[in-house]
Symmetry: C2
């Protein structure tokens, strides 16, 4: 079985984006209401948006189950305000829940959180609990920068985040550390802000005793861990210079990397330097890069090929990357 | 011959830091003067600071010439104000000039620029010209984020920077894109801000026609290009999706990567995916990581070993990486 731990609902019917635009207009003008009931998307529309895209690709590439969350770019925590973020999160999460109901063998839900710049992560506890307990979700996406490229909130290792982590631990669900869009013109979203967010979060973890306080807290760092595996020597060396414990001891019981690295040499490096138990298969389909690599004739994001092509992996290693590690990190998957 | 294109004067006598502290105090209080003549460092002090450090390491590792600039972390463009940044830059650059005079075979100068958040890069033109024409420097370090982790100035591809690029082109000197310290608690300087700066700059270049406007403008992206080579498939795919030209055509006549990647698998990836003509040897000694890698018994930043150990490189390739490419990118090196 192949579990893809990183898929977003990037192909939602236009009505969803339309509702969001209307909502943000309403927040900006404070004139119009933005009633969730104004959004109407039929099951047929959901099916169509998936059959042509994620489900087709699952079949074509031979993957089985996608851990599926709302579109990351559209979370837009820096837009609107706290209340708008809560309503928008509930709408997006409810759509994911409906999709998991329509295709329970193909999708497991991960929720967007109602984060907002400067607002305590306590405000996300209730939505996490609703999604896990009522909707059967298996994890969440946590945005380390709700300001959208201005990095105004405290680091992920600050006690600011602890009330949220307490709930994650209680529910035994991991978070993928995933920024949303960038409103800073310096940062292209998928080309810079995403990757920087991953690198930044890892270094925050390296400096902190967060996992002493929360020994069972688990994070997946997407996009192959940002720059981290490529600079693994730098991070081992920084930890050593800073008198931190070795990375294995400091954070590799709590921090995992996905395989959204879109060429063979990158995956080869990832599986060479990161312990196999810390790597979770993912493709982020339909996501940041949609074209065919002229060098291979296959889609850049067809990451299964790279895992299968990586030298040095045994069948048991691949089974861990494709399924076993995801089941450990997302224990609520067991029903699937 | 081996040219290390990325060394900072991180080992300056304490008097330098003391002068800077006094200067910043003076700016803050507007009470005390901060006269450059109050700084006194003898040639013997300069020699001692280098003989025990950079020169010892050059000898031990068999490298010949270091392209040498003031300490990047200490540039601190976000501190003080424009005038303080100018005085501080001149002091730091003058020290580099003295060092190049003491050891002309070992060091070639690269200057710090008097950047300041929100201040036009035009303000750096005169200091670049002074350093190149009067002090014989061969390049400069350009900070893409003078705000120190808040990323408040325009992207490097904005016309905001064009007056400075015009001078770079006129003088035929490259810039290393190098951030300074971070005053944003989210970003550890050498573990996150540096690497993010590299990744960010590359993506800015990918999106822009900057090199159509300046066909001979040259940038070195340090720290192995941040996350870029590890995600080379992502960047090739993003360029393709965005209808940009292939990267070779779009920017590889203008953008170069150094080899400050502190483990063998990282360098193996770098030399595999990036054309050999775009890679410049560097170690950033004495720099971000100072310890010995327990896995190899050698210093993490002893990058010569990785280049020599990388499979697939011919003697001619290594000669380019060690010397030839640096001579092309830094043509003013020819006197050395």
């Amino acid at each position: 079985m192949i579990i893809d731990c990183h898929g977003h609902y990037t192909t939602a019917p236009k009505a969803l984006e339309g509702w969001r635009t209307a909502q943000l207009d309403a927040v900006a003008t404070a004139l119009r209401s933005h009633d969730p009931s104004q959004l109407s998307i039929s099951d047929d529309e959901l099916r169509e948006s998936l059959e042509r895209n994620q489900l087709r690709i699952q079949r074509e590439r031979g993957t089985d189950l996608t851990i599926f969350s709302p579109r990351a770019m559209a979370m837009g925590h820096h837009l609107g305000n706290e209340q708008a973020s809560l309503e928008w999160s509930r709408i997006c999460n409810d759509l994911i829940h409906r999709i998991c109901g329509l295709y329970p063998r193909n999708f497991a839900g991960v929720c967007q959180l109602p984060q907002s710049p400067g607002v305590s992560p306590k405000g996300s506890v209730a939505e996490l609990e609703r999604c896990v307990k009522e909707l059967g979700f298996v994890g969440c996406n946590l945005n380390p920068d709700p300001s959208g490229g201005h990095w105004k909130d405290p680091p992920l290792t600050d006690r600011w985040w602890y009330p949220f982590y307490e709930k994650m631990v209680e529910l035994d669900v991991p978070a993928m550390v995933h920024v949303s869009g960038s409103c800073n013109p310096n940062f292209h979203a998928t080309g810079a802000h995403y990757i920087n967010g991953d690198t930044t979060a890892f270094m925050q973890f390296l400096l902190s005793d967060l996992f002493k306080d929360f020994p069972t807290l688990r994070f997946v760092i997407p996009h192959g861990g940002g720059a981290v595996p490529y600079h693994w020597g730098r991070y081992r060396g920084l930890a050593q210079d800073l008198k931190r414990p070795p990375l294995e001891e400091l954070l590799l019981k709590n921090v995992y990397f996905d395989t959204c690295v879109y060429h063979q040499p990158g995956i080869d490096l990832l599986v060479k330097v990161i312990p196999v138990g810390n790597i979770l298969f993912a493709s982020e389909v339909v996501g940041a890069v949609r074209g065919v690599d002229p060098q291979t004739g296959f889609h850049f994001d067809d990451t299964r090929r790279y895992i299968e092509g990586a030298p040095g992996l045994t069948a048991a290693d691949r089974a861990k990357i494709f399924e076993g590690n995801a089941r450990s990190v997302y224990p609520r998957l067991k029903a699937n």
